[in-house]
């Protein structure tokens, strides 16, 4: 394996590993709070992925500088898209936590293998 190529594309591997980890946590953990943490890991992996997609090797942050007419800026669009992604992640987390509070009132526990079982 080409080590140089691997190191250059290292963040992509991290993003995929985090994404798989998040999905696994959501699907397998019985504790509901841990499930929500899994959702957050999954979404952070996607944010990371988008930010690397927009990255250009050796680019500088995309703030226009009149002193540097031919500077190489990174692509700001994916980072901007992820602002929306962060808002979505925030609202999903808030909603999930609200539902978990309600379930806690009904069951008296947030960690039960009885939740989410198939019927």
């Amino acid at each position: 394996m080409d080590l140089q190529l691997f190191l250059l594309n290292f963040p992509y591997f991290v993003a995929i590993i985090l994404f798989s980890m998040g999905t696994l946590i959501v699907l397998t953990q019985p504790n509901l709070i841990k499930k929500v943490i899994g959702i957050n890991i999954l979404q952070s992996a996607i944010f990371l992925f988008y930010i690397i997609v927009g990255d250009i090797h050796g680019g500088i942050p995309p703030i226009y500088d009149p002193n540097l007419p031919d500077a190489l800026y990174i692509n700001p669009l994916p980072s901007c898209l992820m602002l929306t992604g962060i808002v979505v992640g925030f609202s999903v987390t808030a909603f999930a936590l609200a539902l978990i509070v309600k379930l806690y009132i009904y069951y008296g526990t947030i960690s039960s293998p009885n939740f989410m079982k198939m019927k």
Binding site: V26, L42, I46, F49, V53, L81, A96, Y106, Y107
Partner: protein, 506 residues
């Protein structure tokens, strides 16, 4: 005039969004006004959508860059024939369910959540319309989230233990699904550097030989994501709980509309952005066909063993989603047209069935299918509509379901896969095995035991009584039943819309 019509689809979404945000405020002041306002909004969107459909049918396609930004930079809205048909369907069904909700919501929900319920309802409607008219993949993602979260809110609004549990399950799985979709969109952006579907198609065409693996990955992520969202068979786990524990108007919206708009979005990405060549070359088509066949059979089997009516209807949705995916997987003109027609027909049938289930629960409080003896005499109009919808579900001629199943059969002949006809017939028969016992029990069994006891053993001759449910619940059910018969006898108008789109896609 032209300029106004160009803006109308966008205004529909914005208007619905604004109305939805007014709902909780309005509910603090006067709770009675929420339902009429929601009905007014969905009704006016329906009227506007008829205008749009009329304009589109004259051969125009609406292309509008939001707030004046030209397509590659701004968000573009495209309304082609199938999209205009979908807007009409979405707002029309939402309008009917809104009328139904007047009485049903008072009965099934606590009074305090009325405003929030209608807020979520209109938000869901705006999200669905936005999803079908958008031509920008990231904008699609945003509307997918809007629709998804508000659909979860519609389930959770009931507040019972089952509903809350089902809502949390739905929320977690739907978030995983949209995560997969977002990842897939990221891969598309990596390949093409564009988010507009038309431009993606242009950019992808010359370079698709260079990145076969990346295209494969993008499609796989999108299939999983949209599969979870639209309850494609092995990924349907959230659907039965969510649809059976929600209040009946919400289950009707969820089952009839929400799972379908994702299919429309998926189809747009698959056929327009990736193009037919990739669709045929990668094995995506075979995957969809195999899973659709399994869904059609397994969904019906699962439905057969359920005792609760709404759960049975929910599993039936899983099977019907299989039909729609079968049409997409066939990829022939008739197959695709039948799949799209089935979206429409199934929306009518499933809304009608869920509203009937809600009406039966409203009058008698019964939920189990084995308590329905004599129901045909207590509620003749509701059970009549139920029977029409069930016949259409089985695929009996003169009802809407027959046309789409016939089209699917023709499509499988076109695709040289005659074995699929056997599967379609088998699935239709399975549908009959779980709908006909309900109808048979409703019309052809003795009266309740309870009635026997009060009468001292004398069984009176069965008499038809008028349904004891409010008129606002009865009228939508009757309109939907008539719509199913209309689609079965005169499918020409609708097929005209669909064939124009199919000619554009294939």
């Amino acid at each position: 005039m032209d300029e106004l019509v160009q803006r109308l689809p966008f205004l529909c979404v914005i208007g619905t969004l604004v109305a939805s945000f007014c709902m909780p405020v309005l509910a603090r002041w006067k709770k009675e006004l929420c339902a009429p306002l929601a009905t007014l909004v969905s009704g006016s969107v329906f009227i506007v959508s008829i205008f749009i459909a009329h304009y589109v049918m004259q051969g125009n396609i609406i292309r509008y860059g939001v707030s004046g930004w030209a397509p590659p930079w701004g968000i573009e809205i495209v309304v082609d024939p199938i999209t205009s048909l979908m807007i009409m369907l979405l707002s029309g069904i939402c309008f009917l369910i809104c009328i139904y909700s007047f009485a049903a919501i008072k009965h099934e929900l606590e009074r305090i959540v009325t405003g929030w319920y209608y807020a979520a309802y209109l938000l869901c409607m705006a999200g669905m319309i936005g999803l079908v008219i958008s031509n920008d993949v990231f904008n699609m993602y945003v509307f997918i989230e809007v629709t998804g979260i508000s659909a979860v809110a519609l389930v959770a609004s009931k507040g019972t233990r089952e509903a809350t549990e089902a809502a949390l399950k739905y929320l977690l799985l739907a978030t995983i699904g949209s995560g997969f979709i977002l990842f897939g969109i990221g891969f598309i952006y990596m390949i093409t550097g564009n988010l507009n579907i038309t431009f993606i198609a242009q950019e992808l065409d010359p370079v698709k030989g260079n990145y076969p693996f990346l295209i494969w990955t993008a499609i796989s992520f999108l299939v999983v994501g949209f599969g979870v969202k639209s309850a494609f068979f092995p990924l349907h786990l959230w659907l039965p709980d969510a649809h059976s524990s929600a209040p009946s108007p919400s289950s009707a919206v969820l089952s009839a509309l929400v799972v379908k708009v994702y299919i429309i979005a998926f189809m747009k990405i698959l056929f327009i952005a990736f193009g037919l060549e990739i669709f045929h070359e990668t094995f995506i088509r075979h995957l969809i066909l195999v899973l659709a066949v399994i869904a059609m059979l397994a969904g019906s089997f699962f439905a057969f063993v359920q005792i609760e009516l709404k759960r049975r209807l929910a599993y039936s949705t899983v099977a019907q989603i299989g039909y729609i995916y079968l049409g997409i997987g066939l990829g022939t003109p008739w197959g695709l047209a039948a799949g799209l027609l089935h979206i429409l027909v199934h929306a009518f049938m499933k809304t009608c069935l869920f509203l009937c289930a809600g009406a039966i629960y409203y009058q008698t409080g019964r939920k189990k299918v084995n308590d329905f003896s004599g129901m045909g005499y207590k509620m003749p109009i509701t059970m009549g509509a139920f029977t029409i919808a069930a016949f259409s579900m089985v695929g009996i001629p003169l009802f809407g379901g027959f046309i789409s199943k016939y089209g699917l059969a023709l499509g499988s002949l076109e695709a040289d896969l005659p074995i699929l006809i056997l599967v379609i017939i088998l699935s239709g028969l399975l549908n009959a095995t779980y709908y006909f016992p309900i109808i048979g029990q409703a019309y052809f069994t003795q009266e309740d035991h309870a009635v026997h006891h009060t009468d001292g053993g004398h069984s009176e001759p069965k008499k038809f009584q008028r349904d004891q449910i409010p008129l606002s619940m009865l009228v939508p059910i009757i309109i939907l039943a008539l719509g199913i018969i209309y689609l079965g006898i005169f499918p020409g108008t609708v097929l005209n819309f669909i064939n124009q789109t199919v000619a554009m896609l294939l």
